[in-house]
């Protein structure tokens, strides 16, 4: 698949996801308080929707429909949005900006942002569990995977490792990246698999998990590289912020050249993992595009 084709697919999936999220996050579901507004503010109208794209793409690769995958795509995007709200809070990264607009706590207040994050996380499981297009088995499996990848052995574990003052070696850094980024990407691929009819094939599951792990690591290392090689205009945010904020990055353990090589090797491993799934060219194209992205 060419990059032009991939970009068209990404755009279409993002638009479908946006429409579905607008319905999912309407006041009927998010209630009549200011928290619903804060949930919509933090979730709608932004982001590349990579996670939703993975849900929809993996569902379609496994014989599922977009209709059945969209509730799961909404669920993962709600979990992602919650994690960004809580990450930006004063007691975490204390970041006043997100995607070029005031962070949720700046726009709504700290207590409101805390609750909006809590509400998005909670609502994600309601959206997943009540997906009307899948069997109860698949809905329960989806909740299970979403919770285990987002929870204390998954994404939260990555954040906990990040808060430790020292990072002993590259393995520990990879462990942090696996939690912070790869875990939700893995959940995305598996939610796609569970949105497809029938019993999930364990072999396909394993391939998708390996793919997600490696694109997650490549993505994070690429992030580290862009922070030192890009410029603020291209990146849309301040460069050099990792060093300024004393963030742990690959550059504690290697030079630029080796980091570049690692992005390439994780990307190749990801592509190889799914190569024999029919139609997986789109996953390979995504992996390459993420590895070469300029922002």
């Amino acid at each position: 698949m060419t990059e032009t084709e991939l970009l068209a697919r990404l755009k279409e999936a993002a638009a479908d996801t946006e429409r579905a999220l607008e319905g999912a996050l309407s006041p009927v579901h998010t209630g009549d308080t200011v928290i619903g507004e804060a949930m919509r503010y933090a979730t709608l109208g932004g982001g590349k929707r990579i996670r939703a794209f993975l849900v929809l793409t993996c569902a379609e690769l496994c014989g599922g429909t977009r209709e059945a995958a969209l509730p799961f795509a909404c669920a993962i995007e709600c979990v992602h949005a919650y994690s960004l709200i809580h990450d930006d809070l004063p007691c975490m990264d204390n970041d006043p900006l997100r995607r070029g607009k005031p962070s949720c706590h700046v726009a709504f207040g700290e207590a409101e942002a805390l609750l909006a994050g809590d509400a998005l996380l909670t609502y994600a499981f309601e959206a997943a569990a009540s997906n009307p297009f899948v069997s109860p088995e698949s809905a329960a499996a989806a909740v299970n995977v979403l919770a285990s990848e987002a929870g204390p052995r998954g994404m939260v574990r990555g954040q906990a490792i990040d808060m430790k003052s020292e990072m002993k070696n590259l393995d520990e850094l990879a462990d942090m990246y696996a939690g912070k980024t790869a875990a939700l990407l893995r959940a995305s691929c598996l939610l796609g698999l569970f949105a497809a009819p029938g019993k999930p094939d364990p072999a396909i599951r394993e391939k998708l998990e390996e793919y997600a792990y490696h694109i997650g690591l490549a993505f994070q290392i690429r992030d580290d590289i862009l922070d030192v090689t890009s410029d603020t205009e291209t990146l849309g945010k301040a460069v050099g912020s990792d060093e300024k904020n004393d963030k742990k990055t690959v550059f504690a353990f290697m030079e630029l050249e080796e980091a570049d090589a690692r992005v390439r090797s994780h990307t190749e491993t990801a592509c190889r993992a799914v190569a024999d799934i029919p139609g997986s060219g789109i996953l390979a194209a995504l992996a390459l595009w993420l590895a070469e992205r300029k922002k």
Copy 2:
């Protein structure tokens, strides 16, 4: 059922729940970081476990086993513990004490407490979705109810109403109490119903929902009363704290005598709602005990 019998049942259910929570929150499930420790600190070894008791009791009333109900009881106690951790945070109630020991953020740090709350909420859905003793239909229904009662139309809605600067009338106060307390009690009763085999009876469901709503309101009004009539020694926490913290209570709208009458009338309505469910004497005994509690 006599109060002595009820207290024995409460004690037994609390012990069973504690054992189940120790297993559920072991590092196998909560990971190897400090967040797992914070999750255990905030959840284990305390509380009356009223919510777990309701899950176990309603399951048994509906023909279910304690074994099948315990994973759901753990899930609701994790959600309750998360709500207390986040409520105590500096940007919320800024409360340094919980059940006579330092609050989670005092003991572990604010970022760690935020993440421990997030992790408990997330893990609750994993525990519910992976309950091995119920059908996938029941597991998905349990997740659905737990999320909708804890989320932006349930508990979070109650907290959002609480944050509003003014409380116009008694209906709005009741609305807040319905969200802050009754929502999780309703989830508890329904999780019990879903832990029982077979398709849940809609009539039973409705009765349990009405029961939960009214014991929830009675509980909160009783809380308001104890804050002005009890003493610090009996209550185990500072009295008069509602007025000091400018908390909204029933006393904005009525005197003590009317508040007492309302506790009684909500309790009677709760008992009447479940009176024709065979064996529901235990639910009535609980309602009466909660209404007359001294702390």
